[in-house]
Amino acid sequence: MNILSLFGKRGESASVAKNRLQILLAHERADDGSDAVLISSLREDILAVVAKRVNIDPDSVRLEMDRTGDVTTLGIDIELPSAKAS
């Protein structure tokens, strides 16, 4: 608690709440389940391409989605085996 809050400094949690809801609902309203299908197919395609060159364990592939505003990013993290093993 700082001295400013004693003088009625406005909280900001309500505007954070509004912002989070607006982003979430924009995606939920548009979501027809195709997102999950798309990501799962992307994952398989990418795995197949990488597997052509490197021996990888399918379980060592991590996918991460992040939605911020109008932009959705998809991060793919593949753990490559040590050079010796391949």
Binding site: G8, S15, A17
Partner: protein, 273 residues
């Protein structure tokens, strides 16, 4: 012969005030002189009887009527105070398939003949009970607390109202009203709570009323009286009465009734956080 307007009171999330709202709106409409029936669709977890103080007079219920074991007139429970207000209680059965689509359709169409207003109290969730409660509605009252999970669930319910109801399937659009409950003007002012405008912005549904957080709501449910009957001067009762005037088509601005504060309370207002 009447031709009732059927209103569903719905929210998705539990505990936001659907049953309180149903009882308050139904009683306020009855006080205006209309023939009103409130139906509890929460099969297995009925509570509207308790909130309306009719729990000891329930004999038959909605499931008995749907199954043809009792007539609607036998199942309707008349309110103690208002003789133009009736309750059709939910059943306490654990059989979740007790309500059928055709059964509910025929109950609603019969009730339309006897009443001016039929108010359907939806169960929480998006399962069968909730979709059947909204299925035959002409209008919907969406109840939300100014809180993120409640608002999100309302958005889901709005999606269902626009897809799974008779009106929607016939190519129409369900008229919707937003009722914000448990509102705290002070916290909204200081930015600690979503304000009414925020919720309206997010859901894009016009506001029918804002019910302030009030101790009177619990007191009313303790004694089994709808808030609009137990204490007309309570800010919550005023908010519901105003909402009913809007439901009846009056074009009045939405106000947020406040608890009367003494001089002492006024002086310390906003410093108690």
């Amino acid at each position: 012969m009447s031709n009732a307007t059927v209103v569903v009171v719905t929210s998705g999330k539990g505990g936001v005030g659907k049953t309180t709202t149903t009882a308050a709106i139904a009683s306020a409409l009855a006080k205006e002189g209309y023939q009103v029936c409130a139906i509890d669709f929460d099969v297995g977890l009925r509570n509207l009887d308790l909130i309306m103080g009719a729990e000891r007079r329930v004999v038959f219920d909605l499931v008995n009527v749907v199954r043809g074991e009792a007539s609607i007139k036998q199942a309707l429970v008349r309110d103690k105070k208002l003789n133009n207000l009736y309750l059709l209680p939910a059943s306490q059965t654990r059989d979740k398939d007790a309500l059928t689509e055709e059964g509910v359709a025929s109950v609603i169409s019969e009730l339309r003949m006897y009443f001016d207003w039929v108010i359907c109290d939806s169960p929480a969730g998006i399962e069968r009970g909730a979709t059947l409660a909204m299925r035959h509605a002409d209008e919907a009252i969406i109840v939300s607390n100014p809180e993120v999970s409640s608002v999100r669930d309302c958005d889901r319910i709005i999606g269902l109202l626009d897809a799974k109801t008779k009106i929607a399937e016939d190519g129409g659009r369900m008229p919707k009203h937003l009722m914000i409950t448990r509102y705290d003007t002070e916290r909204a002012k200081t930015g600690d709570m979503l304000a009414t405008d925020d919720v309206v912005d997010i859901l894009s549904v016009p506001l029918i009323g804002v019910v302030p957080e009030s101790k009177d709501v619990l007191k009313a449910s303790n004694v089994g009286l709808p808030i609009t009957l137990s204490d007309e001067n309570s800010p919550a009762a005023k908010a519901y009465t105003e909402a009913v005037r809007r439901l009846l088509g009056e074009n009045i601005p939405v106000t947020i009734p406040e608890e009367k504060k003494g001089l002492f309370g006024k002086f310390f207002k906003g410093r108690a956080a």
